[in-house]
Amino acid sequence: MKQVREGMTEHIVDVRDLKVHFEIRRSFLDTLLGRNKATVKAVDGVTFSLRRGEILSLVGESGSGKTTTGRAILNLVAKSGGEALFDGASVSNRDREWNRMFRKKAQMIFQDPYQSLNPKDMIVDIVSEPLRIDGDHHDQEELLARTVEALEFAGLKPAETYLYKYPNELSGGQRQRVAIAAAFILSPDFIVADEPVSMLDASVRADILNLMVKMRETKNTSYLFITHDLSLAWLISDRVAIMYLGKIMEIGSHRIVAGSCVHPYSRALVDALPTMEEKPRERALLKGETPSPVKLPPGCRFSPRCSHVRPQCTREEPELRCVGEGHWAACHFAEEFLSKSGAGDPVPLQGEENPSCAQ
């Protein structure tokens, strides 16, 4: 999978201590009373990197900050701190030329194909639009040829029958294919796919996932795959990062969601997965719900719900630490859970601070 040409960075995306905080609008009364401004720490110090041609899944419950992370990398929301690098350059770079390149090379696929396509545009316009506005001159013939190519790649064959249709004439699966064709037409290096199949029936999901994998095989595209579905993340990604309240709790190979996780939160998520087993094992479900990201608990943000909580957890916030090859967890007692998880023998800490080095 490694196809690093000369002069290219090994990582297509590098995220370092990324923070996105939103200020909550205060009511008039709060302003009058001079109450403190409240901030939602949607993303609160996230570090990871993505190799070329790699699929990394960000999983977590709603409110964990996975979508905001994806949007911040594409510079669609302003960062409050930290850095996101694309091809070695900061995404908040103001250089015009660089930005034009960035917008071509980094694309996004949205969750809801019923809302992400303009209902007044024909398919041909939707798919060719990125080419028409990318600044390079393309003549009509080339536009059409490349649109047809993109549609056929996305499995809408023969493309001619779809060119002059409107989105409302297509099914959900077909619409998502159109969205993929529009992303594909610029041959992006990096795609943020935000729950791309969660609105689709299981019977068509596979096609969309296969398309994404095919695109990575032909174009070496890298993906940040955002999903709440652990089994999907396990299925299609190389690595998985589990987020909780704006932080990565654990990151490692896809196997961590199949059971070799060490963080108590990951364990709880994996245990909550419904399985086809007739007689499910007794599982300890977490009580209550994710607390508000406005008032984060002191110490480990998972500590109020953690069944293994100890005094240290409510005092110090754990950092991501290396617990195995390419496997990092933000828990003070990760090594202890490691031996229980059957993930292998604990690896002595190497004093590495930056997760990207061991991945």
Binding site: A202, S203, R205, P274, T275, M276, E278, L285
Partner: protein
């Protein structure tokens, strides 16, 4: 006597394009305390089947044939007036996204109390006590009694809707994708809650879902529906482990099995049938890769492959 018996149910919708045979000859039955899962792609008739049981069809829909026996009484033949007495008290429903159906300007506890007062003769004080007991049952803290819906999270609101559905102690509860819009953790909590209530009160459940893995852990029986018909029905373990209908087999391959091999999921090519003019023969035949001549001309009857496990395929026995 069975608690619920649905026999040859046919529910049709009269539309401008013609008569849509949304549910066409569906039969299943439920014992007291038993749970059945209805699964299938969108548009296969799962929700219409459930709405027919409750007689809550939209005005274009009508029950064109068959019987719905609840405790031996034919539900389909009752007048609206009589039905109103049974709904909520005998059967109730929790919809997908039901949490958005709460009235935003009325306290949650008040809304549940209203449902109670409408069906039972209670004083305000008794109703309030019942609401508190229900809150306790669905594990909502009693400190939230005087809150409005916007002060509840999505999971809490769904719990409140379950509390409302349980208010009059129904014998049968229908869950129409009750956890689809919720997070994994909340979903697991809600399903565990429904399971607990079912065991405690011997309540039967019809669980509608598109997610096969939910059925595995939460139901006793499963009916796989396709194009308005039951393709395969039987005890959950038997159907999921030994699927005999090609549609069930394909559907199982569309879900990743995190406890098994990491194999790419497979889609089912083609589209579900048009239910105004369904294909002749087996409705799945145009998408079935094992279809033979007879499949395109003759509709398959239900065939028993093992006790309690039936499949509507001409070659069901060969596949088991």
């Amino acid at each position: 006597m069975k608690l619920l018996e649905v026999r040859n149910l046919k529910t049709y919708f009269d539309t401008r394009e013609g008569v849509v045979r949304a549910v066409d000859d569906v039969s299943f039955s439920l014992e007291k305390g038993e749970a059945i899962g209805l699964v299938g792609e969108s548009g296969c008739g799962k929700t219409t089947t459930a709405l027919s049981v409750l007689q809550l069809l939209p005005k274009e829909g009508r029950i064109a044939g068959g019987e719905i026996l609840l405790n031996g009484e034919d539900f389909a033949a009752k007048s609206e007036e009589e039905l109103r007495k049974h709904r909520w008290r005998d059967v109730s429903i929790v919809f997908q996204g039901a949490m958005n159906a709460l009235n935003p300007v009325m306290k949650v506890s008040r809304q549940i109390a209203e449902a109670l007062l409408l069906h039972e003769e209670l004083t305000e004080e008794e109703a309030r006590r019942r609401v508190l007991a229900l809150f306790d049952l669905v594990e909502i803290s009693s400190s939230l009694v005087d809150c409005y819906p916007h002060e509840f999270s999505g999971g809490m609101r769904q719990r409140a809707m379950i509390a409302m559905a349980l208010a009059c102690g129904p014998k049968l509860i229908v869950g129409d994708e009750p956890t689809t819009a919720l997070d994994v953790m909340v979903q697991a909590q809600i399903l565990a809650l429904l399971g607990k209530l079912r065991r405690e009160f011997g309540m039967a459940m019809i669980l509608i879902t598109h997610d096969l893995s939910i059925v595995g852990a939460n139901c006793d029986q499963v009916a796989v529906m396709y194009g308005g018909k039951v393709a395969e029905i039987g005890p959950v373990g038997k159907v999921l482990r030994n699927p005999c209908h090609p549609y069930t087999q394909r559907l199982l391959k569309a879900f990743p099995d995190i406890r098994g091999e990491r194999e790419m999921v497979q889609s089912i090519p083609g589209f579900p049938p048009n239910l105004v003019t369904p294909p002749p023969g087996c409705r799945f035949s145009p998408r079935c890769d094992a279809a033979r001549e007879i499949c395109f001309s003759r509709e398959p009857a239900m065939r028993c492959v093992e006790p309690g496990h039936e499949a509507a395929c001409h070659f069901a026995e060969e596949r088991s």
